[in-house]
């Protein structure tokens, strides 16, 4: 069984051993490693993105393009037919399905925030 005095002795020996070690360039070595890791991560992400983009383009390139054209045509469809006069030109930016989608999304977002108390 270890006594209080012996316990204090150990504590004082450990306290004595706790040295204030100077930097010895360890900080710069660590920071150099962090920089290297960041570059490696960025290079990895970029490589994966390029490979994925090329792969997707090769496999789905044309169908994707056709799909994008269809979507853009759908989103720019007018909501109310205002003819071809100046009124149609003025309301053109908001008189389409895309603006309706944006307004609906914003309303849902605001309603959600209201329900969850700002979170």
């Amino acid at each position: 069984m270890i006594t209080d005095n012996q316990d204090q002795l150990l504590q004082s020996v450990f306290a004595e051993a706790r040295q204030n070690l100077d930097d010895e360039a360890i900080t710069s070595r660590i920071m150099a490693k962090t920089r290297r890791v960041l570059y490696m991560l960025a290079a990895g992400v970029l490589s994966i993105a390029v490979v994925l983009a090329v792969g997707i383009w090769l496999i789905f390139g044309m169908p994707l393009l056709e799909f994008a054209v269809l979507i853009s045509q759908f989103l720019t469809m007018t909501l109310i037919d205002l003819g071809e006069g100046w009124l149609a030109l003025v309301f053109m930016p908001v008189n389409n399905i895309a603006s309706l989608v944006v307004v609906t999304a914003k309303a849902i977002h605001l309603g959600w925030k209201k329900v969850l108390g700002g979170y």
């Binding site: 020996v13 450990f14 051993a17 070690l21």
Partner: protein, 188 residues
């Protein structure tokens, strides 16, 4: 004209941690500068090889840099840093065990410079303890952690931690008994 980063050495730690969480490398470098000594001391007591201790400390700070964005509260930084340090040490032990004790320290690797006799004697005494016992003793006496905190940190049962600390302290006390007669140690 002074840059904001010129004031980092005088900044409170919590502020630096918050900045580091946003990816500020200069703030992180200041944190490393402030904390390297305590982490290296902890690793030196654990592994008794000062070169290895520095390598493991670098691993600790690298893990901290990669994970600091996930740290929820800046005030929890010190405890988290210690947890990362202990997990790096435990991983090292497991790897060493998997290699069949390759690289097991005998105490001969301890450097003969830049340390006092007492530090060398302590490290030589610590090296004689089994890894898990040494870790518990170091966390208790060097880091000042409670038995419960050590059990939580190392995932060991509380009873095991208590018995490791009791046995380790007894062995250390025998190995370091010479210092019991020195007045400067008794008075510190």
């Amino acid at each position: 004209m002074h840059k904001a980063q010129d004031y980092y050495p005088e900044c409170p730690e919590v502020f630096l941690v918050s900045l580091a969480r946003t990816g500020d490398r200069k703030a992180f470098a200041e944190l490393v500068h402030r904390k390297q000594s305590s982490i290296r001391n902890l690793m030196r007591r654990c592994c008794n090889d000062y070169t290895l201790a520095d390598d493991l400390s670098q691993q600790v700070f690298l893990k901290v840099w990669l994970g600091i964005r996930k740290l929820r509260e800046a005030v929890a930084f010190n405890g988290w840093l210690r947890r990362v340090a202990v997990s790096v040490w435990l991983q090292h032990i497991r790897k060493k065990d998997a290699l069949g004790g390759a690289g097991e320290m005998t105490g001969n690797e301890l450097p003969q410079h830049d340390t006092t006799g007492m530090v060398l004697d302590l490290d030589r005494a610590l090296v004689k303890l089994p890894n898990q016992v040494r870790l518990c003793v170091v966390l208790s006496y060097h880091e000042g952690m409670s038995h419960g905190e050590i059990a939580k940190l190392t995932h060991m049962p509380l009873g095991t931690v208590k018995s490791h600390i009791r046995n380790g302290a007894q062995q250390l006390q025998q190995l370091l008994s010479a210092y019991g007669n020195q007045p400067e140690v008794q008075n510190t």
